[in-house]
């Protein structure tokens, strides 16, 4: 097996945040202390070694990057304080930039100025674009979709979604090709089972909860890292489902999108609970990063903040809208909130392949390939004594 060595590789990865990784002398403490590292899929040391030796392709082909939930145990116990946990996070950022064919992700991660511009510009464009089609703002009753016709949101959404799907697909294909490895002839893999396991892990965050809560005295469940993460994830997924269902009702002609429903309406209830989870999760993540609660929240890149800010703004503005819907006499602010909400959510989705948000799909792919095991071949019946 030949390998191409890139002498600048370590310098390159350090642009993405690997704090002190050149101090690593490969003792293997991180790999042995890691609750998720297993034989055949060892990390972080092997991945660090790739970076130190300039082995770019093997690093980008390592699904192990995405199996790590960053519990911080390796960083806490590293005898050189080389910060292997933060290195894994930096390598993931590098991977997001590498799988993205446009080069935008790389620019966002490595240039603070571009990051700042891209945090504002897409939202501004979406906002202005939609505002161009705006209608009246009736104050006698809240008619959000008189102000911005649902069709406009829909059209913008469809355009955005198609763009997003193409870019996401490119990244996913890029990663999958690298990660899946050589095909061994005659070996079949149980892909159904792998898909099922991936779904379960993504939805429940089981391994995060069971293996990666490593603190000596665990905080109460709602303050644990996995719950804060899961709460954000469930909130986001819940809102996605609620929105899709609401739109589905319109397609079926049962009710128009955005019309008043009692708060106990199942779809509205799902949206409310999901919104609460999203705002709770992102707020707690903010608090942890501001307080630098532990090693895992000490180093925050612009990308980390941008992702959190967008999620939080989307969640909170959504809530304001819901409150406005139930107020007897909502003010003009509700209409502006709607515009803001659409802009923030739009930007969140559009930037998905280029920001931290991309981990959602790359992690799922990694978990899939991790779960993909060969179908055991039935052993031929043993012949009698030979």
């Amino acid at each position: 097996m030949s390998a191409r060595v890139d002498p600048q590789f370590l310098t390159e990865i350090k642009k993405y945040g690997a704090v002190n990784i050149e101090a690593c002398f490969n003792c293997g403490n991180c790999t042995a202390i890691c609750p998720l590292s297993t034989n055949g899929e060892t990390f972080p040391r092997r991945i660090i070694r790739y970076a130190q030796l300039g082995l770019k392709e093997p690093l980008l082909s390592s699904k192990e990057l995405w199996l790590c939930y960053y519990c911080g145990e390796c960083t806490r116990t590293c005898p050189k304080q080389a910060n292997p946990g933060e290195f894994m996070a930096a390598a993931r950022r590098y991977a997001i930039a590498s799988y993205d064919p446009t080069g935008l992700a790389k620019a966002l991660y490595t240039s603070p100025i571009l990051s700042a511009i891209f945090l504002v510009l897409p939202a501004l464009l979406i906002g202005l674009g939609i505002y161009a089609f705006h209608g009246p703002m009736p104050t006698n009753a809240l008619k959000l979709f008189d102000f911005i016709p649902a069709g406009i949101i829909h059209n913008f959404g469809v355009i955005g979604m198609i763009l997003l799907a193409v870019l996401l697909l490119a990244g996913m294909v890029n990663m999958s090709i690298k990660v899946k490895g050589e095909k061994t002839p005659g070996v079949h893999h149980d892909w159904m089972r792998a898909l099922w396991e991936t779904l379960i892990e993504v939805l429940t965050q089981q391994r995060y909860q069971q293996d990666c809560e490593t603190e000596a005295d665990k905080p109460v469940w709602y303050l644990q890292k996995w719950f804060i993460h899961a709460s954000t994830l469930w909130g986001f997924l819940g809102l996605l489902v609620a929105t899709a269902l609401d739109y589905g009702l319109e397609v079926l002609g049962i009710k128009a999108t955005g019309t008043w429903v009692p708060f106990w309406n199942p779809i509205r209830l799902l949206g409310t609970i999901a919104g609460l989870l999203l705002v709770y999760g992102t707020s707690m993540a903010f608090v942890r990063r501001i307080r630098k609660s532990d090693a895992t929240s000490t180093y925050s890149t612009i990308s980390d903040w941008a992702f959190l800010i967008l999620l939080w703004l989307t969640g909170v503005s959504g809530f304001l809208l819901e409150i406005a819907l139930y107020l007897p006499q909502p003010g003009i602010w509700a209409y502006w909130t709607l515009l803001f909400h659409i802009s923030a959510a739009g930007e969140l989705l559009i930037l998905m392949p280029f920001t931290k948000f991309a981990h959602a799909m790359y992690r799922a792919i990694a978990i899939y390939f991790h779960a993909l095991k060969p179908v055991p071949v039935a052993e031929p019946a043993k012949a009698g004594a030979d």
């Binding site: 002398f25 403490n29 042995a32 005898p79 304080q81």
Partner: protein
């Protein structure tokens, strides 16, 4: 106790302090050696064999202990602590505390009748608390001086020792006494301690039954040891699988100990060889990050151990737990093959690092009383380690042995002679020698 006027005060009666004292005394200087324990000998007298020659430790240390005790120019002050050091001209005024032995040393003959009669059994620190001795005892068989000492913490004051002592040396009325020494120079030979086991949580923080420190293993292997054989302390079982965890307290930034302790590779290899002799069927594994065999004959020693069948596994042990039978389980990545293994052993020795005995981690010792600046590693600061390694920041105070930094016995002895040479030059230069003793020199 009368006040003393001398040329050099040596603080610490281990191998380095004894060597400095002998070198200075042989040149005719009047020397006092202060030791806080009831006997001199330090760490070395507790060890089994030295590396790489496998010579007997006692056979090297005991003659030096005797030489110190019998030298006409050495005043031996055991069970004493330095309380303060004040500058006085070019020399020093030192206040010394004599702790009470409750035994009149001028009468005691070391017959041990008191010890045989004493009903109280006490864990013996000389045996790393693996063995026991009496509340009144001669500290260990080759102790110097061979004088009994009574431990008031455990004594019931039953008086049996007093009744049985043939020379009426027992004196329950002794009090701590302070006296002064005027000395032209000081040599610090305060030695080392092990990194406390409690600091490394991943290795059980000292709570695992069959995880021991390397000085315990030295006592198991020493002919004068508590059991006369290697047994694991948890249940007295003879171990068949023994592991060494290297760098368990050195080269570890999580403990703020970044330096290499230098001796651990070699003592682990040495103990592995000795265990191979004591327990020929035992399997021995050494988990290491790098093997550092820097001295003369050391690399060959390492190669010999490999040839003898000692297994060397490269990888930093991440954690040690224990199973229901109190067997320690070691988790490590074997970095040569990139595999994570969890292995169960009968006994694990943590190759803990060397920290200064006066370390702020521990109780402040003599270094505090002398108020010398310490380096960032906690050892006594030496301004010019390349050109004058034994000279401290304060004129007239010199340092030797593991008070300078981690080193093995050979280097301790070399540095002890170096410190003695520095002190000798300083005393002559300052012309402050005790008149009476010039006669001794020029007689």
């Amino acid at each position: 106790m009368d006040n003393l006027r001398i040329d050099a005060l040596i603080i610490g009666g281990g191998i380095a302090g004894m060597q400095s004292a002998l070198d200075l005394a042989d040149q005719g200087f009047q020397v006092a050696l202060v030791e806080r324990e009831p006997s001199i000998g330090g760490r070395m007298i507790t060890l089994s064999k030295v590396f790489p020659t496998l010579d007997c430790c006692s056979c090297i240390t005991t003659p030096k202990m005797s030489a110190v005790a019998h030298h006409p120019n050495i005043h031996l002050l055991t069970y004493c602590e330095v309380q303060s050091v004040r500058e006085h001209g070019t020399g020093f005024d030192i206040s010394i505390l004599q702790k009470p032995r409750y035994v009149d040393v001028s009468k005691c003959t070391g017959c041990r009748d008191c010890e045989y009669e004493c009903p109280i059994t006490v864990p013996s620190p000389f045996d790393r608390n693996l063995g026991a001795y009496r509340a009144i005892r001669v500290p260990f068989s080759t102790a110097v001086p061979q004088k009994a000492v009574l431990d008031p913490e455990y004594c019931l004051w039953c008086g049996k020792c007093e009744q049985v002592c043939p020379v009426e040396a027992i004196d329950f009325t002794q009090q701590p006494e302070t006296f002064n020494i005027e000395a032209a120079s000081i040599v610090m030979a305060t030695g080392f301690d092990l990194t406390p086991m409690e600091t490394k949580k991943e290795y059980g923080a000292g709570k695992l039954h069959n995880v021991i420190d390397p000085l315990m293993m030295e006592r198991f292997l020493a002919p004068t040891g508590p059991y006369g054989r290697v047994l694991r302390p948890g249940d007295g079982k003879e171990p068949t699988s023994i592991a060494y965890v290297q760098c368990a307290g050195s080269r570890d930034e999580t403990l703020n100990i970044t330096y290499c302790s230098r001796v651990c590779c070699m003592y682990a290899i040495k103990q592995a060889m000795l265990i191979s002799g004591a327990l020929p069927m035992a399997e021995i594994t050494i988990y290491y990050m790098d093997i550092r065999t820097f001295g003369k004959g050391y690399e060959q020693f390492y190669q010999n151990a490999k040839a003898m069948g000692v297994e060397f596994v490269r990888g930093k042990v991440a954690s040690i737990k224990e199973d229901s039978d109190q067997n320690p389980i070691v988790k490590v990545e074997m970095t040569d093959i990139g595999e994570i293994v969890e292995r169960t052993h009968d006994l694990v020795v943590l190759s803990q690092g060397i920290i200064p005995a006066s370390s702020p981690i521990l109780r402040g010792g003599s270094t505090q009383a002398v108020s010398l600046p310490l380096g960032s590693d906690g050892f006594i600061y030496v301004p010019a380690p390349d050109s004058a390694p034994c000279v401290t920041e304060r004129a007239g105070i010199f340092v030797t042995g593991t008070a300078m930094g981690p080193m093995d016995i050979v280097d301790s002895i070399i540095s002890a002679s170096a410190a003695a040479a520095e002190a000798s030059a300083y005393i002559r230069e300052n012309g402050n020698r005790v008149e009476a003793h010039k006669e001794a020199l020029y007689a």
